[in-house]
Amino acid sequence: MKILTKLIYTACLIFTHLYANAQQSIGVDSSYANGHYLQRVDFFKKMPDQVHEVVFLGNSITEGGKWQELFPKVKHVINRGVSGDVTYGILARMDEVLSSNPDKIFLLSGINDVKRGTPNEVIVENFVRLIKLVQSKSPKTQLYIQSVLPVNIAMLPATYSKLSNEKINDLNKSLKDICNTYKVNYINLKPVFADQNGEMRKELTIDGLHLRQASYILWADHLKKIKAL
């Protein structure tokens, strides 16, 4: 008995050690509940659910769009962008998004995860969890996963040093794959925003990542053109 206890204890110790090491070496930062996030979610929860909602879901790029104005003929367009949000943060607030059984969700996320250095495999895993959540809790909702927008490296501030278009392209390739696997709509926004080198077109962005307000008109036009909305 004593030996067995010792063995279990040792095994636990080794496992804990390995686990801690693994955690450290991957170094995934899954935090999201900052002040801005919490006050946005507080608002979302206070707003009544409507029938036939069309949800724009994502980070600051989504939050910055005046979506209702861009789609004046579509009823109940709502902005569920949260500046700074990551895939973990979106997962954590999906209950609020899905409780209205929305008609459509337009999701754009991933760039803040990449900015933190989260490996693409982890980001894609979170997308799979998101897809499964939508499909199980609101099966009639049409989910559109939009490609992560290219960045303009030369224009980016230093805090974005972990971003590269190679990494974004790789991520988008995986996103397209899981969309095929799970029968979800994939929208490639690259043709709208990228120049011939695959960088975000200078004239469309403020800082290499965020969009100038008028760039949202091109985005909305694209969604109309492909009849997603």
Partner: protein, 228 residues
């Protein structure tokens, strides 16, 4: 009095005026890159009939007006520009008025205080905005809203310090202007300020801007007063 003496006195007067003019420096800048890209967008968007326009600075821009008012039969437009001031709003009135909107809810003021614009200048700009609306779109209903107080215990930026004390006087003059111009004045302050006239902590993250849910209270207030 001799001519020389007169000349001396008038020179003195001129000098005093000059010194005065220098102490009340007026910063009328507004066309920063953020402003320009917002206005570029506004100009590209088609006009709609019966627009209800929320006009102002970042406090207006951050409101999810269209969602909160999704039951409105009229299009809801956000015409807030982060950092904008009374000069900047005046300069973009053409775009707003070209649509002949049904109503305009105007809230501004705090950025004028941050740059220490004299109240006379702010009020004069407001007056020009109001008169422009009346002239170019006489059917537009104008709602002039009070400037919001701030909470300096929560702000970090030096330009916010000592400014909240200026807000009540500005609002007094705005109310007076609304009476002179025969338009509706809406005092928003009671909704969001504490008994000392500071922006209540529970409504703000940074002492200046409102949390997203505060706009629900704001809209409910406008509805209760039958302005919406």
């Amino acid at each position: 009095m001799s001519t020389i003496k007169l000349f001396f006195i008038s020179t003195l007067c001129f000098c005093i005026t000059n010194v005065f003019a220098q102490t009340v420096k007026i910063d009328s800048n507004y066309a920063n890159s953020y402003y320009q890209q917002r206005v570029e967008y506004m100009r590209k968007m088609p006009h709609q009939k019966n627009e209800i326009v929320f006009l102002g600075n970042s406090i207006t821009e951050r409101g999810e007006w269209a969602e909160i008012l999704s039951d409105s039969p009229f299009p809801i437009l956000n015409r807030g520009v982060g950092g904008d001031n009374s000069f900047g709003i005046l300069a973009r009135m053409d775009e707003i008025l070209a649509a002949k909107p049904r109503a305009i809810f105007l809230m501004d003021g705090i950025n004028d205080q941050f740059r220490k614009l004299p109240h006379e200048t702010s009020i004069y700009n407001y007056k020009r905005i109001i008169q422009k609306i009346k002239k170019e779109s006489p059917k537009t209903k104008i709602y002039l809203e009070s400037a919001l107080p701030i909470n300096e215990e929560m702000t970090k930026e030096p330009y916010t310090k000592g400014r909240n004390v200026l807000v009540p006087e500005l609002n007094k003059r705005l109310k007076q202007l609304a009476e002179e111009e025969n338009i509706t004045f809406i005092d928003i302050c009671p909704l969001f300020q504490d008994e000392e006239g500071k922006l209540k902590k529970e409504f703000t993250m940074d002492g200046v801007h409102l949390k997203a849910s505060a706009y629900i209270d704001w809209v409910n207030f406008l509805k209760a007063q039958k302005y919406l």
